[in-house]
């Protein structure tokens, strides 16, 4: 006989879980009691939202399923933003929540909330356990659902009596069988051939690669396809790192804050090869003018993404890695697009991303210095806003899973806790959280966690005393009426020191590199408070609803 809580902990171990991010409370006491002498590592965060983001950061950096744990009611509700963040970016996490005992369900009991109801639209699936005998099967299914097909978060709600009830040890099914869930991995052979024919006949092909390439670990296949067929590659925010930034065929990021040359290439291409992307509005701008001359090939594991925002000529439902591997096997000859590559090279030369050089402290410069120092061998996590876009534009990513950001939901406060999670996945490399002074204050309590466990996350705050991205929009589109976007100055180093974390305030460009080096040399966490040019903007920029080649703040306009 074993309690539900014991079966839960054993089930997590069977799934290979090594770390849980969580916060205790009343109805999870039996689970915490089991954790007390288990070999599972538990990190006590300072707010449940951080537990979800940390599990997410761990999952993105490792490719494995992240796990978080919270109590019922407020604890569970605090996970919701983190779960929604993971859902939008297809990140596999299993969120475990305590629930009031089954006899009190629906009774407005103390700390009760209908968390399965609340999270229905932001989970891939969720469970309300009613019987301790189901624990091992449900945990197995939860990990399976989270990690297969298009990954996503799964929540398991565990009433207190399910944790405490003892049941006979039930054998765990070896395989998960869910008749309503059969993700397609292999692409249709004929469609793959059709896609290849289209690409071979193209004069101006472009690959548009996204988070799906990273999720399916298909970077090597992508680079081979691009190189052998001679096709330039632009990546989405989520796809950064799937091809090295300095690869001759790489065009950098496309879309609202993409490079001018990537957006020009999309606008002029005759075949658009979309791989693991979802034609998000921040990428396409006005959909009618996105790749207006192109035949579109789209690979995605989720059939619902194909044709959702843009009509597709050759849909291929399947796992990116599997489909690209099959495509490589079908390829008979190399592709040559010299004239097109030459044209793109010309654009690249004449429309580079700008980095002002006037003696003032500019964020672009800081990111570039960071890039030079780390040489791509680091995990860069970001918050959301200008800091995120500067990091995406100016850091040179060389490997998949080294860029971790909340792309879909755009969750401010994501960076610091996600960076904590990323560290446990990649303890071998430095982990930086590129932050803004607005975003960092959304989960600044996690200074407590990184200090507590000496988690060596380096927090680089691009401090402009504004909610910078909103201020930028107010400057450009609301007549500089800075409505509630100015923040008073905060001495972040003092806050860090109060938690026992070291830090440096940096006010001049000359001090950037020494400060970064000091951060790296420090064994523990470190806070860098960069006092940047206050009204620096993220450029180039496609105004909302415009065509993506109509960029402002670039070289063309």
């Amino acid at each position: 006989m074993k309690t539900g809580a014991k079966i839960l902990v054993e089930s997590l171990q069977r799934e290979g879980t090594e770390i849980i991010f969580g916060y205790p409370g009343g109805v999870v006491l039996p689970i915490y009691d089991e954790l007390y002498d288990s070999s599972l590592r538990h990190i006590l965060v300072r707010h449940e939202q951080a537990a979800a983001h940390a599990a997410d950061g761990y999952a993105r950096a490792s490719g494995r399923v992240g796990v978080c744990l919270a109590t019922s009611g407020p604890g569970a509700c605090n996970l919701v933003t983190g779960i929604a963040t993971a859902y939008m970016d297809s990140v596999p996490i299993v969120a475990l929540t305590g629930q009031v005992p089954t006899n009190l369900l629906g009774n407005d009991a103390f700390q009760e909330s209908d968390i399965t109801g609340i999270t229905m639209p932001v989970t891939k699936h969720n469970y309300l356990l009613k019987d301790a005998g189901d624990v091992s099967r449900v945990i197995k299914e939860a990990f399976y659902i989270a990690g297969t097909g298009r990954p996503g978060p799964v929540l398991v709600d565990i009433p207190k009596d399910v944790s405490t009830t003892s049941v006979k040890d039930v054998p765990v099914p070896e395989q998960v069988h869910l008749r309503g869930y059969n993700p397609t991995y292999s692409g249709h052979k004929r469609q793959i051939e059709k896609a290849l024919q289209l690409i071979m006949a193209a004069e101006r092909p472009v690959i548009y690669a996204g988070g799906g390439v990273i999720l399916s670990n298909a970077s090597a296949e992508l680079i081979r396809i691009a190189t052998e067929l001679g096709i330039p590659v632009t990546t989405t925010l989520m796809g950064l790192g799937c091809i090295p930034c300095d690869h001759p065929l790489n065009l950098g990021m496309l879309g609202m804050h993409g490079t001018e040359y990537a957006n020009f290439a999309i606008t002029e291409c005759d075949v658009l090869f979309a791989i693991g992307v979802r034609f998000d509005d921040r990428v396409t701008g006005k959909t009618e003018t996105f790749a207006p001359h192109a035949k579109i090939i789209h690979i995605d594991i989720d059939p619902a993404e194909i044709g959702k925002n843009k009509r597709v000529d050759v849909p291929i439902v399947g796992d990116t890695k599997t489909v690209l591997t099959d495509m490589l096997a079908c390829m008979k000859k190399k592709g040559i697009h010299d004239a097109w590559i030459k044209k793109i090279k010309h654009w690249k030369q004449h429309h580079p991303l700008k980095c002002p050089d006037d003696g003032c402290l500019h964020p672009q410069y800081i990111i570039r210095q960071m890039s030079e120092l780390l040489k791509g061998d680091a995990v860069i996590v970001s918050e959301v806003g200008q800091n995120q876009m500067w990091a995406a534009q100016h850091f040179c990513f060389r490997h998949p899973r080294t860029w971790i950001t909340s792309g879909g939901l755009g969750t401010m406060g994501y960076g610091l806790p996600a960076a904590m999670g990323a560290h446990f996945a990649r303890p071998d490399v430095p982990v930086f959280d590129v932050a803004g002074d607005g975003s960092i204050q959304m989960n600044i309590q996690e200074f407590g966690t990184i200090a507590h466990y000496n988690i060596p996350v380096k927090v680089a705050i691009l401090n402009n005393r504004y909610l910078g991205m909103v201020r930028q929009w107010q400057e450009l589109f609301y007549d500089r009426r800075y409505s509630y976007t100015e923040l008073p100055s905060v001495e972040f180093v003092k806050i860090a020191n109060a938690y026992g974390i070291e830090g440096i305030k940096v006010e001049s460009p000359d001090d950037v590199m020494p400060a970064l080096k000091a951060a790296i040399e420090c064994d523990g966490p470190f806070v860098l408070d960069f006092r940047i040019e206050r009204e620096e903007n993220v450029f180039p920029m496609v105004p909302a609803g415009a065509a993506i080649n109509e960029m402002i703040g670039g070289h063309s306009r």
Partner: protein, 167 residues
């Protein structure tokens, strides 16, 4: 924009209906009618939903429905030969005398049955497609419809085609 009849085979579990309807409400769709019940497989249920939308919108909802773990099969019956029926119960004011006879006559034309006879009311039960039931209700309005309740539409493909789990 036209009505689409979707037949959805689901696991017979708590919460499944709410997962299914949630996908519609999240996209701002109004469900015209909904019918749920057990089916030929003991642990599955079949949901018939009528929803008004353009083809692309409905296709997107169907794809989203297919993503639900508890949904086993989704079919749009709309462009197929099919039988659709709903059942309505209509409580109509029927004072003794002429109106009662008239109502009974109307009922017989519609092949509706009288399932309850009260001192001042009759309850009619009618089965048919949506138009037939609408027509009957409209005719009865002049006598005073006190209460009107109808099931959602259920639909099934004609001939040997089926919407099953394919086991």
């Amino acid at each position: 924009m036209k009505p689409h009849t979707l037949s959805i085979l689901v696991e017979n579990k708590a919460g499944v209906l709410s997962r299914v309807t949630g996908l519609f409400s999240r996209r701002g769709f109004n469900i015209e009618s909904l019918a749920v019940g057990p089916c030929e497989e003991p642990d599955m249920s079949r949901i018939t939903i009528v929803v008004i939308g353009d083809d692309a919108q409905v296709e997107q909802v169907m794809k989203q429905l297919n993503k639900l773990i508890d949904v086993i099969k989704v079919s749009d019956l709309t462009d197929n030969e099919r039988v659709e029926r709903e059942l309505a119960l209509i409580k109509v004011t029927a004072e003794l005398g002429t109106s009662r006879a008239e109502i009974m006559q109307i009922a017989s034309i519609f092949r509706a049955s009288i399932v309850d006879v009260g001192a001042k009311t009759l309850i009619l039960q009618v089965i048919g497609d949506t138009d037939k039931i609408d027509a009957l209700e409209k005719l009865l309005r002049q006598y005073g419809v006190k209460e009107f309740v109808r099931t959602g539409t259920v639909g099934i493909l004609r001939g040997s085609k089926t919407v099953t789990s394919g086991k």
